[in-house]
Symmetry: C2
Subunit: 333 residues, 2 copies
């Protein structure tokens, strides 16, 4: 008789979409090669936490990135799990063909905002990369019209090779890519140079230019500003955030200087603010064990896994002490 | 002939005031006792970096905090250095008397927003602490009318003993303290429970209640949200931020879970945003050596000291590659 009459299911569409990039961005940054079996267990644990989007690998030659040799098999494994979008990175038409054959839900193509970075990284100018993107879009249109093509615009906030990247060039390049037919363009702080004022300004300018084709914020924690920059992006309307379990990936400096924003800390920040992520933080933290098992000895980052959640933090699991509906109110503190 | 005709001096009043709390909040959190000689060298290095405010110690019985046995001598040393405000923490009238005798520029009194924390920490209710504050203000009025009395309101964002702290009680307590005659009230996230939405809401409510008597944001990085919370406070008009060199102080959890916001990372964030702190980041990072020398083996935190500043980051020193005036523009990236 005293059971609550309303027992709300978790909302179908979270207020923010957390896009887990560890299996792609994380693995390609470490020297160890994770076994296919361990990758599967890690991806299963990430799925169980409630994540709705994941980037599972790169379609690049195995001789360049042996970590990605099993990418087609991993795509097939991940796409068999229900209720999430499985992405893969493709640098060129050949990669896109293989990714579509494997059955990815979404393609992501890296394009550098910095001309110097583009030439150094893929030996192509930016405008040549726009031509590559046009080919990928044509392939998609011909063979898999339901698969979105997203651009991750790297070095959008600065470049270690050329220094500052003019904002006008970021906006120009975004316009070129939209004209080439892409569905979404995210901005990446590849080098950990972004600051919150810049994040607000640049996302604002890009949104003014390309509207709702503005995509995810891929921000790094290289100088400790990862979450502050995510907050800044949220403030100007960004609703998709890339992050990596344990901050795996992009650790170019001393120990402690992690690269990617830590998924666990990012989910904690939004949930504590009352912004629904759809992710069960306890299960997400538990997923670290599968990552540890697959990459023994690799340092994992994150403050919330060490500190724990504070008393009163909502437990989203069925039967948890607070109903999931409560997490969305803004006055629970 | 080609020398610039305008050669702006650093602005007299920075856009934000960074209040260094390491010698008080940091030292009282570690078990080691730093020698007076090492404290002096550390404080000298902090002063040389351009910091304009520092909390150098607590006036408490040496048997309770042996780290603070030399606090009067340290106050005399710090106040002999020009151009900054030297503060000390005083928990009661006896401490305030000793601090004023030593010549502090400003008193700070901790008052808990959580009744449970107040009773556990100082064995006084909050309203009894308001009475103590009234005595301290009376002493100040009688003997040192130019010395401001600031409150650091601890557990304002949550309490590990009682859980949530009602915002109405924070606003009520702030009103009681203003009526008792204090000059400023800062809000402290003693337990690392604050989130950016809460920081904006609570500072907004307190400012609506007590106006420009709203003081500093004392935020912790326990769960990685330190800088995001500082950004949130900045967004709603807070202009004084407590921080600690190397994040020294308040490390109640596992290694990596630092307590205080790291001064180096905080200064980097604001300067990168074009918000002047008055602090020379290179000299601030150099000050870590004096801290290491005084507390060998104590872990120091901070991402910017490891990662370095990005290319193009303004050098504020005279003769640096960019004139200090440029740092205030918002379009240099």
């Amino acid at each position: 008789m005293h059971e609550p009459t309303e027992s709300p299911a978790p909302p179908a569409t979270p207020a923010v979409l957390i896009s887990e990039v560890g299996p792609r961005d994380g693995l390609q940054s470490v020297s160890a090669v994770m076994s296919t079996r361990h990758k599967r267990a890690w991806i299963d644990a990430l799925h169980a936490s409630g994540l709705r989007e994941i980037e599972v690998g790169s379609f690049v030659p195995a001789r360049m990135l042996p970590q990605m040799a099993d990418v087609a098999e991993i795509v097939r494994h991940a796409t068999a799990l229900p209720g999430w979008t499985v992405m893969a990175l493709v640098p060129n038409l050949r990669g896109a063909l293989a990714a579509l054959e494997a059955g990815v839900h979404k393609l992501t193509v890296p394009v550098s905002a910095s001309e110097a970075h583009s030439l150094a990284n893929v030996r192509r100018s930016r405008i040549d990369m726009v031509a590559v993107v046009r080919e990928i879009v044509a392939l998609r249109d011909a063979t898999a019209p339901g698969v979105p093509v997203e651009i991750g615009m790297s070095t959008a906030f600065g470049c270690t090779l050329q220094g500052a990247v003019p904002e006008d060039e970021v906006v120009w390049l975004a316009g070129q890519l939209v004209a080439a037919g892409v569905d979404e363009i995210g901005l990446s702080d590849t080098t950990g140079m972004a600051n919150p004022a810049q994040v607000r300004r640049l996302f604002g300018r890009v949104r003014a230019a390309i509207g709702d084709k503005t995509g995810s914020a891929h921000l790094h924690n290289t100088r400790g500003l990862g979450l502050a920059n995510c907050l800044a992006a949220w403030d100007v309307g960004v609703r998709t955030f890339d992050a990596s379990l344990g901050g795996l990936g992009g650790c170019p400096y001393a120990p402690g200087a992690s690269g990617n924003v830590v998924t666990e800390d990012l989910v904690f920040m939004f949930e504590a603010m009352g912004v629904d992520t759809g992710v069960d933080l306890a299960r997400l933290i538990a997923a670290r064990e599968t990552l540890r098992a697959g990459l023994p000895g690799e340092p994992l980052y994150g403050m919330v896994p060490d500190a724990g959640v504070p008393a009163g933090f909502p437990d989203r699991r069925p039967g948890g002490p607070e109903r999931s509906g409560q997490i969305r109110t803004d006055d629970r503190h």
